[in-house]
C-alpha cells in the first residue's frame, strides 16, 4: 500500500492504560487494514490488532525519556499508547496511520477487503437475511388503509428515503409530491410503525417549509389522511423533537413547524432534544471523563454532570415514551420530525418502537428495527460515524444514543430483553468498524448505486453473522411470556434511572468491570439444564422402546446425569479475581512503598497482572465479555 511509509518498527512499547508503569515491548506492523502489535516472547497470544477504520485519531505526544509516545483513539473508545524509540519512525507511523485511518473512497473501507471463508452464494444469502417487507407484514401491512406507494421507486421524489414507503391509501400521488415539496429534502410524512391492535401509527418526516406563514394544501391533506387512517381517533400528535427555540429560529430560514391553525385536528408537541453538534460535544466530554486516570468520586460525578450526556439520553427517552404512550394508551397516531428527519426522528421513532413492541426486544427484532428506521430511512452513517474523510461537523453519536437508550431500558427491565448488552456493544462496534457493508453510505440510494459496482460483489452483511453468534448475545433472564414484558414498557424517567454505561465507554479497561459475570453464569446453567432435559427426554423415549430392558436403561440414565454435573464448572476467568487494584491512585504524592525492595516488588506484581491483562486483550478468550472486536481480527486472520 502506498500509504504505508513504515511497515514495521521494532522495540516499540505498548503502555498499559491502567498503570503507566506496565509496558510490553514488541514489534509494530502496519498493514493495509490493521495496525498490529506483536509482543516479544514466544507466546503468540501477545498480539493487538487495531482496524484502521476504527481509528478515530492519532496524536503524537511530547517526547519522554523512553521515546516518542503515539496515542491512538478508537471509535469504540479504546485508547492505545505506543512509545516508539526513534522520532523519525514515530513520525512515519503517525503519517501513515493518519492517512490509513481517513479513507477518501468507499473502496478503501475494510468491508471491501474483508474476505471470510465463504462462497459467493453464501455472501449474497447474508444480504437476504433481513427482509423489511416481511417486517411490515408482521405489523399487518399492507391493509385496507395503508399501502406501499410506488412514487419513490426511482428515488426521484426523495433521494434519501427508501424505495418502498407506506402511505395512507387515500392519498393520491399529487398529494405526496406536493407534500414532499413542502418538506425539507422532500422527506414527506410516511409510516414507520403500525400498531395493529388499535391502528395507531408512528409516522415520520422532515420539517415543513412553513416559514412564518407558508401553507401547503397537499401537506395538510397528507396529515389529515394519516389521522383518518386511524379510525378510532379524532386527532393526531405532531411531535417536534427540537427545542422550541431552535424550531422557531428555523422559521426565519423558511422552515419551521406545523401551525395548529392550518392543520385540522393536530396537537403539536415540542420535546426538546439538542442537535448533532451539541451531542457530539457532549459525548466528547463524556469520553474525557471515562478516560480520567484514577479520578476522585467527585471529579467523576462532576465530569459526568458537566458532560450533560445523561440529560440528553433522558430527553430522547422521554420523547420515545411520549410517543409510545400516545400510540398504546391513547390510540392516537403520531407524526415525528426534527429538521431533516434522519437523526432525532430516527432515535425517537425507534425508542418508541422498542417500548411499544416486544418484538424489537428480541435479537432479530432489534436488527430489523435498525435496518428499517436507520439504514433504510437514510440515517447518514458515513457522515455521522466519519467513515470517510470529510466534514468533522457532520460526525455525531446519534445512533450511540439510541443504543444507549436501549441499554438504559435493559437496566430497568432486566427480564424484558432477549439480548444482553453484549449485543448492543457488538452492534456499536460494527457500525463504526466498517467490517461489514451494512452501515456504509448515507442512504439506500447511495448504497444501491454502490451495490451496482461493489457492495454485494465484495462486502458481507452483518446481520447473518450476528445471528449465527446469537448464543453469545442472549440474556438468560429474558422472560417473553411475562405479562409485564408483553405490552408497552413504562420506564421511569426519574433521574436516578439514568446510569453511566461503563461497559461501553470503559470497554477496554478491564480492571473496571466486575470480575465475575452473573449473566454468563446463568447462561451456562440454563444451557446445561436444557441439555439435561433433552437427554432425559431422549432416554425416556428409549426407555419406552426398550421396555424389556428397563432396568439397564435406568442405569444408563443415571450415568448421564452424573457425568453432566461436571458441566457446572463455569466459564469464569477466575484469574481475574486475583488482580490487585490501584488503591494508591487517589493520592499520587503519597509514596506507599518507599524502600527499594518494596517498589521492585510492586513492579513485579504489576507486571504479572499486566501481562495477564494484555494477553487477554489480544486473544479474545470466550469468557471475556465485549471482546468481539478482538475476536474479529482473529477470525479474518484465519480467513486471509
Amino acid at each position: 500500500m502506498e500509504h504505508i511509509r513504515m511497515p514495521k518498527v521494532e522495540n516499540v512499547r505498548l503502555v498499559d492504560r491502567s498503570s503507566s508503569r506496565r509496558t510490553h515491548v514488541g514489534t509494530l506492523y502496519l498493514t493495509a487494514t490493521h495496525t498490529i502489535f506483536v509482543g516479544e516472547g514466544s507466546e503468540d497470544r501477545n498480539e493487538l490488532w487495531v482496524l484502521h477504520s476504527l481509528v478515530c485519531n492519532v496524536v503524537k505526544h511530547k517526547a519522554s525519556q523512553s521515546g516518542y509516545p503515539l496515542l491512538i483513539h478508537c471509535k469504540n473508545f479504546q485508547v492505545i499508547q505506543f512509545i516508539i524509540p526513534q522520532e523519525s519512525d514515530c513520525h512515519d507511523v503517525y503519517i501513515s496511520l493518519s492517512r490509513l485511518s481517513r479513507p477518501e473512497k468507499y473502496e478503501e473501507l475494510y468491508c471491501f477487503s474483508f474476505n471470510p471463508n465463504v462462497d459467493k452464494a453464501e455472501r449474497e444469502h447474508s444480504w437476504d437475511f433481513l427482509d423489511l417487507k416481511a417486517e411490515y407484514s408482521r405489523m399487518g401491512l399492507p391493509n385496507k388503509l395503508w399501502h406501499v406507494t410506488p412514487i419513490n421507486r426511482e428515488y426521484r421524489v426523495c433521494d434519501t428515503y427508501p424505495a418502498d414507503l407506506f402511505v395512507p391509501k387515500s392519498v393520491t400521488l399529487p398529494v405526496i409530491v406536493g407534500s414532499s415539496k413542502f418538506r425539507s429534502r422532500g422527506r414527506f410524512p410516511t409510516l414507520s410503525y403500525y400498531c395493529k391492535e388499535n391502528h395507531a401509527t408512528i409516522c415520520r418526516s422532515s420539517q415543513p417549509l412553513s416559514g412564518f406563514s407558508a401553507r401547503c394544501l397537499e401537506d395538510e391533506q397528507m396529515l389529515q389522511a394519516i389521522m383518518k387512517s386511524n379510525p378510532g381517533s379524532r386527532f393526531m400528535y405532531v411531535v417536534g423533537t427540537r427545542p422550541k427555540l431552535n424550531a422557531m429560529a428555523n422559521r426565519a430560514a423558511g422552515k419551521g413547524y406545523e401551525n395548529e391553525d392550518n392543520y385540522c385536528n393536530i396537537k403539536f408537541q415540542f420535546i426538546g432534544i439538542e442537535n448533532i453538534h451539541v451531542m457530539r460535544n457532549s459525548q466528547q466530554k463524556l469520553i474525557e471523563v471515562s478516560a480520567l486516570r484514577s479520578p476522585s468520586m467527585g471529579e467523576f460525578l462532576t465530569g459526568l454532570e458537566n458532560s450533560d450526556w445523561l440529560r440528553h439520553i433522558k430527553s430522547i427517552m422521554e420523547a420515545g415514551l411520549f410517543i409510545s404512550k400516545a400510540v398504546a394508551e391513547e390510540g392516537v397516531s403520531v407524526l415525528v420530525h426534527c429538521s431533516d428527519g434522519w437523526d432525532r426522528t430516527a432515535q425517537v421513532c425507534s425508542v418508541a418502537s422498542v417500548l411499544l413492541d416486544p418484538y424489537y426486544r428480541t435479537l432479530k427484532g432489534l436488527m430489523v428495527l435498525i435496518e428499517k428506521d436507520w439504514v433504510s430511512f437514510g440515517h447518514m452513517f458515513s457522515h455521522r460515524c466519519g467513515h470517510l474523510i470529510g466534514e468533522a461537523k457532520e460526525v455525531s453519536p446519534v445512533i450511540d444514543q439510541f443504543l444507549e437508550c436501549v441499554w438504559q431500558l435493559m437496566e430497568q427491565f432486566p427480564c424484558a430483553f432477549e439480548y444482553s448488552e453484549k449485543f448492543l456493544i457488538s452492534i456499536h462496534n460494527h457500525i463504526y468498524s466498517c467490517h461489514y457493508g451494512n452501515f456504509i453510505c448515507n442512504s439506500q440510494k447511495e448504497r444501491k448505486d454502490l451495490i451496482l459496482c461493489i457492495i454485494k460483489e465484495k462486502a458481507h452483511s452483518i446481520w447473518l453473522h450476528l445471528w449465527e453468534k446469537k448464543l453469545d448475545f442472549m440474556n438468560p433472564l429474558f422472560k417473553p411470556d411475562q405479562s409485564q414484558n408483553q405490552g408497552l414498557l413504562r420506564p421511569s424517567t426519574a433521574p436516578y434511572c439514568f446510569k453511566y454505561w461503563r461497559r461501553l465507554y470503559n470497554r477496554f479497561d478491564r480492571e473496571l468491570h466486575p470480575r465475575q459475570s452473573e449473566l454468563d453464569c446463568l447462561m451456562t446453567v440454563k444451557e446445561e439444564t436444557q441439555q439435561l432435559e433433552e437427554e432425559l427426554a431422549l432416554y425416556e423415549q428409549k426407555m419406552a422402546v426398550l421396555d424389556k430392558e428397563r432396568a439397564k436403561t435406568l442405569y444408563m440414565q443415571k450415568g448421564v446425569l452424573d457425568s453432566k454435573q461436571a458441566l457446572w464448572s463455569l466459564p469464569l476467568d477466575i484469574s481475574l479475581a486475583n488482580t490487585p487494584q490501584d488503591y494508591i491512585g487517589g493520592a499520587p504524592n503519597l509514596c506507599l512503598f518507599g524502600d527499594q525492595t518494596k517498589s521492585s516488588d510492586a513492579d513485579n506484581s504489576d507486571q504479572e497482572s499486566g501481562v495477564a491483562d494484555f494477553s487477554s486483550h489480544s486473544s479474545g478468550e470466550e469468557s471475556l465479555p465485549s471482546e468481539d472486536s478482538v475476536k474479529d481480527p482473529d477470525s479474518d486472520e484465519t480467513a486471509m
Binding site: 479520578p295 426519574a494 453464569c521 469464569l572
Partner: protein, 565 residues
C-alpha cells in the same frame, strides 16, 4: 411512667394509608406500646402493616381545617411517617384530636431511651427459646477454632471486668509473649483503653490485621515502652509492619494538641505509617441525609441529580473505605506484612476497614455464617457503639448527637463487592437489606447497647433473642442465600474506580418502582438455578468444589512463573 400512659388514643377507624406505588387503603389504625398496626379488613382477606415504633425516624403532621371549629365534621389530619428503613407512609386520620393524639404517642414511644423498655425485651416468638447460648461465637471459641493462632498468640482475660478497656470484650487475642501487665500499660496509652488487639490472621501467610485506637502521645510526644513492645511482638523480629492511620497526616498532627497522636517513626522503627483520610461522625451522617433526600425526589433533572449525588459525598465515603481496605489487603496478601489499623477512637472507621479487608481476604467470611461471625466479632464484640450511632437515620429532625451510619456504609461496601463478584459471596443482597433494617429497629437484642459491658449490665443476653442465631435457622437462612455462590479461595480485589462504584439502588431506591423490576429479575435467577438443581441432582455443591480446585491450580502455577520472570 408506664409505656401505655403515652397512648392517648389507641384506635382510630377509617384511616387512609398511602404508600409509594401502591393504591391507597382504608382501615383501622392501632397504637400499642411498641408497634403501629394498620389493618384493612374490608374483604375477607385482611391486610396488615405492622411497624415497630422504633423504626420511625420522623413524624410530620399537617392538620386541615385549622381555622374551622375543632371537632367540626370532616376535620382531619395527615401524619407522614418516615421510617429508618427509608419507607415513607402517609396516614389520613379523621378527627383532628385523634390525629394529634396519635402523632404525639408515636413521637413519645419511638424515642424511648430506657434500654429495658425496648421491644427486644418483650419479643417472645414461639419458635425461639431464651435459654441456650447467645451469639454465634466468643473470642475463646474463635481462638480455639483458628489453629494458626496457637503458636504465637494467646487469649488474654485482662479485661474480664471491663476495667482496662470499657468498650472491649472480656477476652481479646494478643501476642503470646506480651503479658497482661504490659497490656494494661499499653491500654493507658491508648484512647479509651483500646490497646492493639488481633483482628485477623491471614490463612495464607500468617500475617495479621491488628486494630486499636490512637496512641496518647500528646503535644510533648509521650512514649509508652509497653505499647512499643506489644507492636514489636506482633511483627516478631526484623520484619516490617504497616500502620494504616485513618486520618490525614495533618489531622493526626492536630490530634496531638488534644492529647492524641500517632506512632512516630523513631519510637516504632519497624512500623511504617500511612495516612488515609476518612470522614467520620457528623459528616457521614449528613451525607446519608443528603443522599436520601435526593433519592426521594424523582422530579430533579439529571444534572441536578448528579450534582446532588456528588454533593452528598456518600459514594466518596464508599470509595475511600474500599480503597483503604484494598490497601490493607495489598499489604497483607501481596506484600506479606502485618498491619495495624486505627483512627482516633478505633470504634468506627477502624472496624469498617478491618472487616472489609477480611471480606476481601478471607473466604471463610464470605459465607452466611462467616459473615455474621465477622460482624459479631468486629462490630458487636469489638464495641461499635450501635445505640449511639443508630439512634436516628436519614429523616430525623432531632438534634443529632452521636449518630453516624458507619455500619450502613459497611453494608454498602459489601454490596459493591458483591456487584463485582456476584458468585463469591454465599449471601445475597437481601441479607444486607435485612441487616440495614435490623440495625436501626429490631425485635432482637443483637444491636442493642454500645459495648459488651453495657449488654452485660442490661441483661441483654438473658432477656432478648439473638438476631444472628435466628438468621441461621435453615428455613430463614434460605431467603438470604446467593443462588450463584461459588466459593473461591482467592482474595477478591474489588475495583475502586469511580466508574466501577454504583449507587446501592436496592437500599436507597428500595421503595420506588425501580426496585420492583429488580425483584422480578431476582426471582428469575432463582427459578433458573432451581430448575437446574432439579435436573442435575442435589449433590451439586460437592462437584462445584472439586471443579473449582481444578481451575485454581493452573492459575497459581502461572502466577509463579511470572514472578520468576
Amino acid at each position: 411512667m408506664e409505656l401505655s400512659e403515652h397512648i392517648k388514643t389507641a384506635n382510630v377507624e377509617d384511616v387512609t394509608l398511602r404508600r409509594p406505588f401502591h393504591p391507597a387503603l382504608r382501615g383501622t389504625l392501632c397504637v400499642t406500646s411498641h408497634h403501629l398496626l394498620f389493618s384493612d379488613r374490608k374483604d375477607e382477606a385482611s391486610w396488615q402493616l405492622l411497624i415497630l415504633l422504633k423504626n420511625i425516624d420522623a413524624i410530620e403532621k399537617s392538620i386541615e381545617n385549622l381555622f374551622g371549629y375543632p371537632r367540626a365534621v370532616g376535620s382531619s389530619g395527615t401524619i407522614t411517617i418516615k421510617c429508618k428503613d427509608l419507607l415513607v407512609l402517609q396516614l389520613e386520620i379523621p378527627g383532628m384530636e385523634e390525629c394529634l393524639n396519635i402523632a404525639s404517642s408515636i413521637e413519645a414511644l419511638s424515642s424511648l431511651e430506657s434500654m429495658t423498655e425496648m421491644y427486644p425485651f418483650f419479643y417472645r416468638p414461639s419458635h425461639l427459646t431464651l435459654h441456650g447460648p447467645w451469639g454465634l461465637s466468643s473470642t475463646e471459641q474463635y481462638y480455639k477454632q483458628t489453629e494458626r493462632l496457637w503458636d504465637r498468640w494467646r487469649v488474654s482475660k485482662v479485661n474480664s471486668d471491663y476495667s482496662v478497656c470499657p468498650s472491649y470484650p472480656s477476652a481479646v487475642i494478643v501476642p503470646r509473649e506480651v503479658d497482661d501487665d504490659k497490656l494494661i500499660r499499653s491500654a493507658r496509652f491508648r484512647q479509651g483503653g483500646r490497646f492493639p488487639v488481633l483482628s485477623y490472621c491471614h490463612h495464607r501467610n500468617g500475617m495479621v490485621i491488628m486494630r486499636s485506637s490512637q496512641p496518647l502521645t500528646g503535644a510533648n510526644k509521650k512514649r509508652c515502652k509497653e505499647d512499643e513492645l506489644l507492636l514489636q511482638a506482633v511483627i516478631d523480629g526484623s520484619e516490617l509492619g504497616y500502620i494504616i492511620d485513618l486520618r490525614s497526616a495533618q489531622q493526626a498532627q492536630q490530634a496531638r494538641m488534644t492529647g492524641g497522636g500517632f506512632e512516630s517513626k523513631s519510637c516504632y522503627s519497624h512500623w511504617k505509617r500511612i495516612h488515609r483520610h476518612h470522614e467520620r461522625g457528623k459528616v457521614v451522617q449528613e451525607s446519608l441525609t443528603k443522599l436520601v433526600e435526593v433519592c426521594s425526589d424523582p422530579s430533579h433533572s439529571v444534572d441536578r441529580w448528579l450534582s446532588k449525588l456528588e454533593n452528598s459525598k456518600w459514594l466518596s465515603h464508599v470509595h475511600s473505605a474500599l480503597s483503604t481496605a484494598g490497601l490493607v489487603v495489598e499489604c497483607v496478601e501481596r506484600d506479606g506484612h502485618s498491619v495495624l489499623v486505627h483512627g482516633s477512637e478505633g470504634t468506627d472507621n477502624t472496624l469498617l476497614v478491618s472487616s472489609l479487608a477480611q471480606l476481601v481476604l478471607d473466604p471463610a467470611s464470605r459465607t452466611v455464617t462467616g459473615f455474621l461471625c465477622l460482624l459479631e466479632r468486629e462490630w458487636i464484640q469489638a464495641g461499635h457503639p450501635f445505640q449511639q450511632r443508630c439512634a436516628h437515620s436519614a429523616y430525623s429532625h432531632a438534634r443529632l448527637k452521636q449518630e453516624c451510619p458507619i455500619f450502613l456504609l459497611l453494608l454498602d461496601c459489601v454490596w459493591q463487592v458483591w456487584r463485582q463478584f456476584p458468585l463469591a459471596l454465599e449471601f445475597s443482597e437481601a441479607l444486607l437489606l435485612r441487616l440495614a433494617q435490623e440495625v436501626y429497629a429490631s425485635n432482637y437484642g443483637t444491636f442493642l447497647c454500645n459495648s459488651e459491658q453495657e449488654r452485660c449490665a442490661a441483661g441483654v443476653k438473658e432477656n432478648t433473642h439473638c438476631l444472628f442465631q435466628s438468621l441461621l435457622k435453615p428455613d430463614i437462612e434460605e431467603q438470604y442465600l446467593n443462588p450463584l455462590y461459588e466459593p473461591t479461595d482467592l482474595a477478591i480485589w474489588p475495583s475502586v474506580h469511580p466508574q466501577s462504584l454504583q449507587l446501592w439502588t436496592g437500599m436507597f431506591l428500595r421503595w420506588t418502582e425501580y426496585a420492583q423490576n429488580m425483584e422480578e429479575a431476582r426471582e428469575e435467577v432463582w427459578s433458573i438455578v432451581k430448575e437446574h438443581r432439579e435436573r442435575a441432582g442435589p449433590d451439586r455443591t460437592n462437584n462445584t468444589l472439586s471443579t473449582h480446585c481444578d481451575t485454581l491450580t493452573p492459575f497459581e502455577n502461572l502466577m509463579d512463573e511470572l514472578t520468576i520472570l
